[in-house]
C-alpha cells in the first residue's frame, strides 16, 4: 500500500485550463481563468460579446499563447506545442465563422480531415476504404450526401456550418470545441444540431459556445458563464436564470430573459 492517499474518486479532467492570462497589446482578454472539463462530458460556455469565449478556445488550440498559466490536455501541458501537434492529440475546433476548405469538394473536405496520418508521406496514399465509408457516414450525419461533389465555396451558410461540424467530428477527436455552431441556422436546424451534439457527447468530450438560449436549453448541460475574461458563474440553466447578476451581465435586459424562458 502506498503511504500517500491517491484520490481515485476525482480522475484527472481531460481538459484542464490552469490560471491563464491572455492579453493583446496590454488589453487582457482573459484574466486568471481556470476551467476543467471531465472526460466524456458536455459543457456549455456562455457570456456576453467580448467575454473572451473565443479567445479561450484560441488558447486551447494554440492559436494564441497564454502570458501566464498553462493548458493541460489528458495530463500533458499543451500550451507550448505547435498547433498541428495539439490538433494531432485529439482536439478539434469549429470556428465561429465557418472555416471549410473552399477549394475542395464537400467530400474532399471530409476525407482530408478523416485521415489518420497527416504527415507528408502518409498523405500520399489514397484514402482507405474505411476513410471512404467514414466520409459517407459523415455526409449522412450532416445531411450533405446530395452535395458531396459541390465545391465547399458554393455551399450556403448553414451548409457550411454543417460541413464544418462534420469535419470536426471526422478526425474523431477526444475533445470537440464548437464556437457558435448554430449561428445563421433556422430553429429547426438548431434543434437538429442540439440532437447531433447529444449523440456526440457520449463518445467525445464537447465544449460548446453559444448565445442562443433556446439552443442552450436543448443541450441541457452544465454551464460556465464568462464575463470580462473570467469565470463569472457555473451552474445549470435554472440556477443561472434565477441569478440576477447573470441576468444583468449576460442578458442585460431581464425582459429578454423572461422571453427566453417561454
Amino acid at each position: 500500500m502506498p503511504s500517500e492517499t491517491v484520490s481515485i474518486a476525482t480522475p484527472e479532467p481531460l481538459l484542464d485550463v490552469r490560471d491563464i492570462t491572455v492579453s493583446f497589446d496590454g488589453f487582457k482578454a482573459i484574466t486568471n481563468l481556470s476551467l476543467s472539463v471531465p472526460k466524456g462530458s458536455l459543457r456549455v460556455l456562455i457570456g456576453p460579446n467580448g467575454a473572451g469565449k473565443s479567445t479561450l478556445l484560441d488558447t486551447i488550440i494554440g492559436k494564441v499563447r497564454p502570458d501566464t498559466g498553462e493548458v493541460r490536455f489528458a495530463g500533458q501541458v499543451i500550451s507550448r506545442l505547435p498547433e498541428h501537434r495539439i490538433a494531432g492529440l485529439g482536439i478539434c475546433r469549429k470556428f465561429q465563422a465557418p472555416g471549410v476548405l473552399e477549394g475542395l469538394s464537400v467530400r474532399e473536405n471530409l476525407l482530408l480531415t478523416a485521415r489518420r496520418h497527416k504527415g507528408v508521406l502518409g498523405i500520399l496514399k489514397a484514402p482507405t476504404a474505411a476513410e471512404h465509408s467514414r466520409a459517407d457516414e459523415l455526409l449522412r450525419l450532416t445531411g450533405l450526401t446530395e452535395r458531396a461533389a459541390v465545391p465547399a465555396a458554393l455551399l450556403a451558410h448553414g451548409e457550411k456550418q454543417w460541413l464544418e461540424i462534420g469535419m470536426v467530428v471526422a478526425a474523431d477527436p477526444q475533445l470537440l470545441l464548437l464556437d457558435e455552431p448554430t449561428a445563421g441556422m433556422t430553429a429547426q436546424e438548431t434543434a437538429q444540431t442540439a440532437e447531433l451534439i447529444h449523440t456526440l457527447a457520449g463518445r467525445h468530450t464537447v465544449l460548446v459556445i453559444d448565445h442562443d438560449m433556446h439552443f442552450v436549453e436543448l443541450l441541457n448541460a452544465p454551464i460556465t458563464v464568462l464575463h470580462q475574461g473570467q469565470v463569472f458563474r457555473e451552474g445549470d440553466l435554472e440556477t443561472l436564470r434565477a441569478d440576477p447578476d447573470v441576468m444583468e451581465i449576460y442578458l442585460g435586459r431581464p425582459k429578454e430573459a423572461a422571453h427566453a424562458q417561454a
Binding site: S54, I61, K63, P82, E83, H84, A87, G88, C92, R93, F95, Q96, A97, G99, V100, L101, E102, G103, L104, E108, L111, L112, T113, R115, K118, G119, V120, I123, L124, K125, A126, P127, P151, A153, L154, L155, A156, H157, E159, M167, A171, D179, A183, G184
Partner: protein, 354 residues
C-alpha cells in the same frame, strides 16, 4: 479516361512525330522550349497549387544546368589538364567541388539532388518561420541574384559571365552529331511526359488536396492537424527538382550555360508564361510556356524592340482579365460554375476568420 487526358496524350504523340514533319530549326527550337516547359510544370505546382510565388526558379534551373555543364566541361578537357577558362584565370588546381563531377553517375545524381536539396533548405528556412506572400517572392529573387552575382564574380571557378561552353560529348555521344538532334528531342519529350504524368499522379493523391487547402486557408489546415510548412517544403522541393531537370536538358540543347540564361529575366518570364497558360493547370502552365516562347522567337526576330512591350501587355492582360490564365477560361466554359450561395452576414465574421 478523362477528355483532357486523352487530349494531352494525343498532343504528346503528335509531338513525338515532329522530327518527321518539322525542319531542323523549328525542331531545335521546339526541343528547347519543351525542356523549359518542365520548369513551368514545377512553377504550376509551387505557385498554382501551393500558392507560393517564387521569382527565383532560375536558381534551381541553374544548379541543374551548371551541374551537368561542369561534367561536360571536364569530359571535354584532356586528361590531367584544367578546363580552358581556369587556365586563363590562373587557377592551378581543379577546385574541390569540381572534382566529383568527373563521374557521370555522380553528375546525374547531382542534377536531381542539388536543386531539390537547395530548394528544400530555402523552403525550410522560409516556411518554418511562416514567411509568406510577397516576402517569399522577394527572398527567392534575392537568393537568385546572389547566386548570379557569385557566378559572375567567380571567373576562375565558374567561368563568370561567359558561362561554361565548348563541350560536345555526353556519355560518349557526340552532341553535335547529325543523328543526335532527334535523339535529344525525344529524350526531352520523354522527360516532359514523365514530369507531366508523375506530377499529375502526385496531385491526384490527397497531397494535391492538402496543397489546395493550404493555399486557400493555411491556418485552417494547421488546426485540422496538418503541418503546412512540411507540405510547402515538399512542393517547393518538387518545383526545384523539375527546374533542375529542365536546366540540365536546356544545357544539353544549347551547348552552354551562363548567368544571363538563368537570371531575373528568365525567372520572371517563366512565371509570366505560366500565368498566361493557367497556373493551376499543369498542362496550362506547360503549354503557356511552349507557345509563349515560340511566339517570342517569332516576334523578337521580326521586331526585337516590340518584344518587351508584348510581354508587359500580356502580363497586364492576365492580371486584369484572366487570373486563371487560358486554362481557367477553357475550364469555365466547359463547367459553368453556379454562383456561390448568398451568405448570411455573420457578426464579426472578419475578425474571427482564420
Amino acid at each position: 479516361m478523362k477528355r483532357s487526358t486523352t487530349a494531352v496524350i494525343t498532343v504528346l504523340i503528335a509531338l513525338a512525330f515532329a522530327p518527321l514533319y518539322l525542319g531542323a530549326y523549328p525542331l531545335t527550337l521546339l526541343g528547347r522550349v519543351l525542356a523549359l516547359s518542365i520548369a513551368a510544370i514545377g512553377v504550376s505546382v509551387v505557385w498554382g497549387r501551393a500558392g507560393i510565388l517564387s521569382l527565383g526558379q532560375g536558381l534551381f534551373f541553374g544548379l541543374g544546368g551548371y551541374a551537368l555543364a561542369m561534367h561536360l566541361k571536364l569530359v571535354a578537357t584532356p586528361r590531367g589538364e584544367l578546363p580552358d577558362f581556369m587556365l586563363y584565370n590562373g587557377v592551378e588546381k581543379l577546385p574541390w567541388f569540381w572534382v566529383p563531377f568527373a563521374s557521370a553517375p555522380f553528375t546525374l545524381f547531382m542534377v536531381l539532388l542539388l536543386p531539390a536539396a537547395v530548394a528544400g533548405l530555402v523552403a525550410w528556412l522560409m516556411f518554418r518561420r511562416r514567411i509568406t506572400g510577397v516576402y517569399v517572392s522577394i527572398i527567392t529573387q534575392a537568393l537568385l541574384l546572389a547566386f548570379v552575382t557569385w557566378l559572375n564574380g567567380s571567373q576562375g571557378l565558374t567561368s563568370g559571365t561567359n558561362g561554361i561552353t565548348d563541350y560536345q560529348t555526353f556519355l560518349g555521344i557526340n552532341l553535335r552529331g547529325p543523328a543526335v538532334a532527334h535523339g535529344l528531342y525525344w529524350v526531352t519529350l520523354l522527360f516532359v511526359a514523365l514530369a507531366l504524368g508523375g506530377t499529375a499522379a502526385l496531385l491526384r493523391t490527397p497531397f494535391g488536396a492538402i496543397l489546395t487547402a493550404i493555399r486557400d486557408n493555411e491556418n485552417r489546415t494547421r488546426f485540422l492537424g496538418f503541418n503546412p510548412a512540411a507540405f510547402k517544403i515538399a512542393a517547393f522541393m518538387l518545383g526545384g527538382l523539375l527546374a533542375g531537370v529542365s536546366g540540365a536538358l536546356y544545357t544539353l540543347h544549347l551547348g552552354t550555360i551562363s548567368p544571363a540564361m538563368i537570371g531575373t529575366a528568365f525567372s520572371i518570364e517563366l512565371v509570366v508564361w505560366v500565368a498566361l497558360g493557367g497556373r493551376a493547370s499543369l498542362i496550362g502552365a506547360a503549354a503557356g510556356l511552349v507557345l509563349g516562347q515560340l511566339a517570342k522567337d517569332r516576334i523578337s526576330s521580326a521586331a526585337p524592340d516590340a518584344w518587351l512591350y508584348v510581354m508587359g501587355a500580356l502580363f497586364v492582360l492576365v492580371v486584369l482579365v484572366m487570373p486563371q490564365g487560358v486554362a481557367g477560361l477553357i475550364q469555365n466554359r466547359r463547367t459553368p460554375r453556379p454562383t456561390p450561395a448568398p451568405q448570411n452576414p455573420v457578426t464579426r465574421e472578419v475578425s474571427d476568420a482564420v
